[in-house]
């Protein structure tokens, strides 16, 4: 570097160069915010656009901060490198109170702005459908019934087990190991677990709720896109945790009605349980491995459904 003590004031050219660089960083940040949507699954519930909006915003701000910091790092590495054989010290600048106040206040304002935005989204999600409503199981609910004052218009019982998902449609006499939902109609799930913690997670819906043994958790959402999606167990639940998935089908009102009707007429049969199948194979093959909890038998349901069809997300 020819100027070992460069002029402290920014020249006109440097100022323009800095402005151009900041403009470039802003442009890249905006572009990244747009890209962020492509990293997420399709939006299939009314919560998804809200969550995605926040995520895009955070990606934009995050990109700006990241590139800003990295630019400074890269600049110092390029321009402020010691010359070969230069053993001397640099000018001892020990701090700058004004600068320190600025870089305390700006991040504070920034994160509080993000928090404010996130609280707005949270509140809105709460209005769309109460995020959750927890109550201890009572005797009637233990038997699968409902206290009459709490019977909701569209309700699905979700029973999580090691390792299968069972969905019951109370009042319709239908049970399934594939979750069927009606498009654009709010639905309240009642989440219960018969053994350990599980996680009720449908990525396309952007919603996730742990299922806690000993509690019934009501959880409301509205599907907004036709298609077939994955429900994944998101809270580690033991040996076949990874295989504890089910398909979610969002269908039109007519299709849903006819699915319910056909289901009610179908006899009970073994539902899907990849864990039970794998366990049976493991027993016959005598595969090595450590002792495991034995999977619950496949639930007896009217409609087993499928988990091998292509899914949208």
């Amino acid at each position: 570097m020819s100027s070992s003590s460069p002029d402290r004031r920014l020249g006109g050219v440097s100022l323009i160069a800095l402005a151009v660089w900041i403009g470039l960083v802003v442009a890249i940040s905006i572009w990244m915010a747009g890209q962020a949507q492509h990293w997420l699954p399709v939006q299939a519930s009314n919560a998804a656009p809200l969550v995605d909006g926040l995520f895009r915003f955070e990606t934009g701000v995050g990109t700006f901060v990241f590139l800003g910091v990295i630019s400074v790092m890269a600049w110092t590495m390029l321009v402020h490198r010691a010359e070969k054989y230069d053993e001397s010290d640099a000018e001892p600048i020990e701090g700058n109170t004004r600068l320190e106040v600025i870089w305390t206040v700006i991040p504070l304002v920034l994160v509080m702005a993000i928090a404010w935005y996130a609280i707005q989204v949270n509140t809105e999600l709460g209005v769309l459908g109460p995020m959750e409503h927890i109550h201890p199981l009572n005797a009637q609910e233990e038997r699968g019934g409902y206290p009459t004052d709490r019977l909701p218009p569209e309700q699905v019982d979700v029973i999580a087990r090691q390792w299968s998902w069972e969905f019951g449609y109370p009042g319709r006499n239908v049970s399934s190991t594939e979750l069927h939902l009606e498009l654009d109609r709010p639905v309240t799930f009642r989440l219960v677990s018969e053994d350990v913690l599980h996680g009720f997670y449908i990525p396309a819906f952007r919603l996730k709720q742990d299922v806690i043994p000993g509690r019934a958790i009501d959880f409301t959402l509205t599907p907004t896109r036709l298609g077939r999606y994955r429900l994944r167990d998101s809270q580690f639940s033991g040996t076949w945790f990874a295989a504890n998935q089910a398909d979610v089908v969002v269908e039109s009102a007519e299709e849903h009605a006819s699915w319910l009707k056909q289901g009610a007429a179908a006899p009970l049969q073994s539902g899907l349980s990849p864990a039970a199948n794998e366990y049976a194979e493991r027993q016959t093959a005598g595969r090595s491995g450590w002792p495991t909890v034995v999977p619950a038998p496949p639930p007896q349901v009217n409609v087993p459904g499928s988990s091998s069809l292509p899914h949208d997300a």
Binding site: L40, P41, V51, L54, F55, G62, V65, V69, M73, T76, H80, R81, A82, D89, A90, E91, P92, I93, E94, G95, N96, E100, W103, T104, P107, L108, V111, M112, I114, A115, I119, V121, G126, E132, L197, G199, Y201, P203, R206, L207, D210, I212, G214, R215, I217, R230, Q235, G238, T239, W240, F241, A242, A243, Q245, G289, W290, P291, T292, V293, H311
Partner: protein
């Protein structure tokens, strides 16, 4: 001041390192070597995990084995690698940086260390009991952790809880020692605001241990009772609450992340000034920010439980406290940039590790803010996004900072210089490997791939293959490191007392320092740390001390 006091210690016999030594410098090296042994073990487990995840099906190992591997990978890396390696650095650096002859309680110090191999053996032994090792993750959430298919008392989970409890006791013993040493044994003239930032961060981190660990230990004792005595603190069928355990666990285990990262901030704060030849920018703010992080770090734990069924007000409150941590952390990051700015930067191996670590840490900070916001967290919690985030923190920032520290202080404590070429190769492989391994985890999490899975849907295959290649590259990156350490320790060029021309009490000691450091000739500190470019001595009679050291080096 006689030259006999200052002559470099003859290299300690290797037998020293296998004895119940009470010398903090021996204990420090014992900690670090044991930690790296377990680092290799847990790294090997990570290779098998990434091997399994090369393909969507669970086809490399049985699912029970996979669950055991990932549980032990996390447990060993945290309790047997990262905490011990940091305690090793504390042992080496705290007494020498503050001019103390040893730790305040040398026998307690040795006892704390020797518990590490004991619970290490307990954990490794759990691979060989009939039940197999613990398989419920390093969180060990009940009720799944209480399931004991064989019903035997000595199960992998039993050994796991025992090991974690012992680790907690060892850490508490260590913390008492470090805090007392820093508070009571500083050289004359070294007020708190003349203390190196590494000591500030060590004080902050060890205070967190003292406040947080009792909660984890209490929670673990109740888990042990549920597991072995049939109590039901966490068993819902007996009226217990599984979510209660999560509070005990995260009340400590979130601050534990700050116990890890704060000393690494200390390392960055020590090294950036040396290799930028400038004072640390805003020393007082950087020092105090550590304690703001401590205070905030204690009130954020519920952010690990947003989908666990907590009230909306709690979600919002803990989101705000979590976001606030970005502020003192930002102060530190900007201070390091301010230190580099207009400096005379030397891209030595330790400096490269600092810069690479800072790069990764800034990235991790941004994904951390994303995770703090409840709606986004609800989507990505318990997915690979979180796995990517914390590996950027722990490997990308903390482990890289630890490597920086090892290369920087290696000459001081071994008396030998590490090789720059191998060091730089190690840096390049580590930086590329870490980013290739951990960056693809973010898109996977956003797409909805849960963590801890032994099989996955085919749409996740592409990013998983990249991550696995990165993991194997990280495995390779350790080879030049080990070669460097072994060969330079055995026959590297002799180190002078201050090969980096750094400012600090430890650099006024011979390399390696004698057993009691300055002995009875502790110099009086007369100026603040990091006086680069100011041409003022750090201690009284500095010129004489340095002359004697140089003379002794010339005569050896």
């Amino acid at each position: 001041m006689t030259s006999t006091v200052l002559s470099p210690q003859p290299p300690a016999s290797w037998r020293h390192y296998f004895s119940f030594s009470t010398d903090a410098k021996v204990i420090g090296i014992q900690y670090i070597v044991v930690a790296f042994f377990f680092f290799l073990v847990a790294g090997l487990l990570a290779m098998i995990i990434r091997g399994e995840l090369l393909t969507p099906a669970a086809d490399l190992v049985d699912r029970t084995v996979y669950n055991g591997l990932y549980t032990m990978h996390g447990t060993i890396m945290l309790f047997l690698f990262i905490f011990p390696v940091l305690n090793g650095l504390n042992n080496l650096l705290i007494p020498t940086m503050i001019g103390a002859p040893d730790m305040a309680f040398p026998r307690l110090n040795a006892a704390a260390f020797w518990m590490v191999p004991i619970f290490g053996i307990l954990l490794i032994a759990s691979f060989f009991v009939p039940s197999g090792p613990a398989t419920s993750g390093w969180w060990s959430y009940p009720p799944v952790s209480l399931q004991n298919p064989l019903g035997q008392l000595i199960s992998g989970e039993f050994l796991w809880v025992l090991a974690v409890a012992l680790s907690g006791i060892s850490s508490i013993l260590g913390a008492v020692n470090f805090v007392t040493t820093i508070l009571r044994m500083r050289a004359p003239g070294m007020g708190f605001f003349r203390m190196p930032v590494f000591c500030w961060t060590a004080l902050a981190a060890q205070s967190l241990q003292l406040i947080g660990l009792p909660a984890l230990t209490g929670g673990a004792v109740m888990l042990l009772m549920d597991l072995t005595l049939g109590t039901s603190f966490y068993r819902p069928e007996g009226g217990g609450d599984p979510v209660l355990y999560q509070h005990f666990f995260w009340f400590y285990s979130h601050p534990a992340v700050y116990v890890i990262i704060l000393p690494v901030f200390g390392i960055f704060s020590e090294l950036f000034p040396v290799y930028s030849r400038k004072p640390l920018f805003g020393y007082v703010y950087v020092a105090l920010a550590s304690f703001i992080i401590v205070a905030l770090g204690l009130i954020v734990w519920v952010h690990h439980m947003f989908p666990s069924g907590v009230a909306q007000w709690m979600r919002n409150l803990f989101m705000v406290t979590t976001m606030l941590i970005a502020v003192p952390t930002g102060v530190k990051v900007f201070a390091w940039l301010g230190t580099m700015w207009r400096g005379k930067i030397r891209l030595t191996t330790p400096m490269l590790f600092c810069i690479g670590g800072l790069f990764n840490f800034v990235f991790a900070g941004i994904t951390g803010v994303m995770l703090a916001t409840v709606p986004v967290d609800i989507h990505v919690s318990n997915t690979y996004f979180v796995v990517g985030h914390f590996h950027y923190v722990i490997y990308g920032a903390a482990v890289m900072g630890i490597f920086a520290a090892i290369y920087h202080w290696f000459p001081k404590f071994t008396g030998r210089m590490p090789y720059e070429g191998l060091g730089k190769l190690h840096f390049v492989l580590t930086f590329l490997g870490a980013n290739l391994n951990f960056l693809p985890m973010h898109p996977l999490g956003l797409m909805g791939m849960p963590r801890r899975v032994s099989s996955y849907d085919p749409e996740f295959a592409f990013w998983n293959v990249l991550a696995s290649l990165g993991a194997f590259l990280l495995g390779v990156s350790i080879i030049p490191f080990l070669l460097n350490m072994i060969s330079s320790w055995a026959r590297g060029p002799r180190a002078t007392h201050n090969p980096w021309n750094a400012i600090g009490l430890e650099w006024l000691l011979p390399s390696p320092p004698p057993e009691d450091n300055f002995g009875e000739h502790v110099p009086t500190v007369i100026s603040p740390p990091y006086g680069y470019g100011k041409n003022e001595p750090l201690v009284e009679h500095q010129a004489e001390i340095e002359r004697a050291l140089t003379l002794a080096e010339a005569n050896r």
